[in-house]
């Protein structure tokens, strides 16, 4: 069916699946750095896409799919944190955990990732989240502000502080 431009059309199945292929890992990561549990993060990531489709199938409009997915994820994270699981990145790193390597990952990548983890390990959740969104996921401060429901100013400040903290930690090592 051909839609004229003044009627917004619902997102198609193909478009959502394309979005899945593109962003599933990022969403997974985003959840992971809050719940520190691989299985849980995987379930949450799936949930994000399922809920998104539910919204679409009931006639909801989405202007920016990427931002939308993060928003849904953020809400799920809030729900999860209310359930309270006492986990921290420290504890997780002590146990050692699965990087999602398929065996084809180069060892050096894993080492770099472990190294990177130490950089963000000591940050508090909020700073870490923002730093990761900015430098790992590549979201702009404006996008981050939209997703988290903060002002752009706030976001920039927090990014700056986060990076500063990391540098201090690095120096002290």
């Amino acid at each position: 069916m051909v839609y004229p431009s003044y009627i917004t059309r619902p997102m198609s199945e193909k478009e959502l699946i394309d979005a899945y292929d593109m962003y599933a890992d990022a969403i997974f990561r985003h959840c992971f750095f809050r719940v520190f549990n691989r299985e849980k993060a995987k379930d949450m990531a799936q949930d994000v896409f399922v809920k998104t489709w539910g919204y679409i199938s009931r006639g909801g409009e989405i202007k920016n799919i990427r931002a939308f997915l993060y928003k849904v994820a953020t809400n799920l994270i809030i729900d999860e944190s209310r359930k309270k699981r006492a986990l921290s990145l420290d504890a997780l790193m002590e146990e050692g955990f699965d990087f999602g390597a398929d065996g084809r990952e180069k060892a050096e990548n894993i080492i770099s990732a472990k190294e990177a983890l130490t950089l963000v390990e000591k940050l508090d959740d909020n700073h870490r989240e923002i730093v990761l969104m900015r430098y790992v996921e590549g979201l702009s401060p404006k996008e981050i502000a939209e997703i988290l429901g903060e002002t752009e100013n706030m976001v920039s400040v927090r990014i700056h502080r986060g990076v500063k903290k990391i540098k201090e930690l690095v120096k002290n090592v």
């Binding site: 069916m1 839609y3 004229p4 009627i7 619902p10 199945e13 959502l16 699946i17 899945y20 292929d21 599933a24 890992d25 997974f28 990561r29 992971f32 995987k42 990531a45 799936q46 896409f49 399922v50 489709w53 539910g54 679409i56 199938s57 009931r58 006639g59 990087f99 999602g100 390597a101 398929d102 990952e105 990548n109 894993i110 770099s112 990732a113 190294e115 990177a116 983890l117 950089l119 963000v120 730093v131 990761l132 430098y135 790992v136 990076v163 990391i166 540098k167 690095v170």
Partner: protein, 400 residues
């Protein structure tokens, strides 16, 4: 410092290595696909308006194949006033208002079905209406040659439409929808085959009229069966994630259908009489047995086979319903055979009331924005009609 910052950024990039494993990602993708298939998009009111304005009323009159033989006087009256449309609903082939029923009322109703599945279901329903009309006519006596030809022509037309919708689903690899539509198609044809055969036995005068229609129904029935089997095989061959979701959806549909038909039997118990009620309930027991077998297969992980069992259960229950409906109408005929009896008039009115109530409920459902989901059938979205005065009657043995 400068150097520091960029190094940190680069280092952080390495965190991208934390991600879903290939197989995990693939599996979740499959589950997402199943979910999407079982929750099709409901199209918005704005779209509904869109398709309505794209089909001006005038072309419906001018280019309509059904209206070719319509007398001019009726055409003019139709344009001038709207009450013909309602009166036309109960008309039968041969009556002057019949072209309005088929060429206008039904077409307009088709406009308001939005999803592909709902459209397919409406086409099936139109097919059933043609057969019901033929049966009513046959009951009352002979059918003239022209009317007979018209009936058969319309029947073929609708059957072809249903089949092309099935093929469209097939070409889009939506084998579940194809299996669903072809299963319903098969059921309608099979039920009406039985009804027409019954008519053939009991009403010798109607035999010439009915015989060729019966042949056509049989043929289409075989076609439908073939398509259904083929699509069920396709569904079984899909990835196990998809089939298990399909099987579960079909199980729900079958169970809901059984509940619905049971309620239907309950309401009509008195009109149907003990024998017919028992036979109908026996059919439902068969359907339940099939559901139970399907569940065993489901547990054993044989999702494809489970799907087939649940489809069959749905068919059996649906057929029971169609046969009861036919019986109900013919029984009402029997009551008012011959003279006008006060008691039987009220009984006939009760029957009409029931029809009207069902009609209202179903119209409300169909006009609402819910899309035809082939998995989540809550109430029966197939249709019923207001049957206006039917005269004369004979007890027809439906071989039930």
């Amino acid at each position: 410092m400068f150097e520091n910052k960029s190094t940190i950024e680069e280092k952080l990039q390495a965190l991208k290595n934390i991600k879903l494993k290939g197989e995990e990602k693939f599996r979740v993708r499959g589950e997402l696909l199943s979910f999407i298939k079982s929750h099709p998009v409901r199209e918005k009111a704005s779209l509904r308006y869109q398709s309505y304005t794209q089909r001006p009323f005038w072309s419906l009159i001018i280019k309509n194949p059904y209206l070719k033989t319509m007398p001019i006087a009726i055409l003019i009256a139709l344009i001038l006033g709207g009450s013909f449309s309602y009166a036309a609903e109960g008309s039968l082939p041969g009556s002057p208002l019949y072209p309005i029923k088929v060429g206008i009322n039904e077409e307009v109703r088709g406009w308001f079905t939005v999803s592909e599945e709902a459209k397919a279901r409406w086409e099936s329903r139109r097919l059933e209406r043609r057969l019901e009309e033929a049966e009513e006519l046959a009951l009352n006596g002979e059918i003239s040659a022209e009317v007979k030809a018209k009936i058969e022509e319309n029947f073929e037309r609708h059957a072809e439409k249903v089949k092309s919708r099935i093929e469209e689903f097939e070409s889009r690899n939506d084998f579940e929808a194809a299996a669903d539509v072809s299963s319903n198609f098969e059921t309608s044809l099979s039920a009406h085959e039985k009804i027409l055969s019954g008519l053939l036995e009991d009403r010798k005068e109607a035999s010439t009229s009915v015989r060729s229609l019966l042949e056509k129904v049989r043929e289409q029935g075989k076609d439908a069966e073939r398509k259904r089997e083929k699509n069920e095989a396709e569904v079984s061959g899909e990835s196990s994630v998809e089939v298990s979701a399909a099987a579960e959806g079909r199980m729900e549909a079958a169970e809901n259908k059984i509940i619905e038909v049971r309620k239907f039997i309950e309401r009509l118990r008195e009109i149907l009489g003990a024998e017919a009620t028992l036979k109908a309930e026996a059919r439902l027991k068969i359907a339940e047995g099939l559901v139970a077998e399907g569940k065993t297969k489901l547990e054993a992980g044989a999702f494809g086979e489970a799907f087939v069992f649940f489809q069959k259960a749905h068919r059996v229950a649906q057929e029971a319903k169609l046969l009861i409906e036919a019986r109900k109408d013919l029984e009402i005929n029997v009551r008012i055979n011959g003279g006008v009896d006060v008691k039987s008039e009220t009984e006939k009115q009760e029957g009409d009331e029931l029809n009207r109530k069902e009609n209202e409920n179903i119209d409300r459902n169909e006009d609402s924005l819910s899309s035809g989901s082939n998995k989540e059938e809550r109430t029966d979205k197939s249709d019923d009609e207001v049957k206006t005065g039917v005269k004369g009657g004979v007890k027809i043995n439906l071989g039930f």
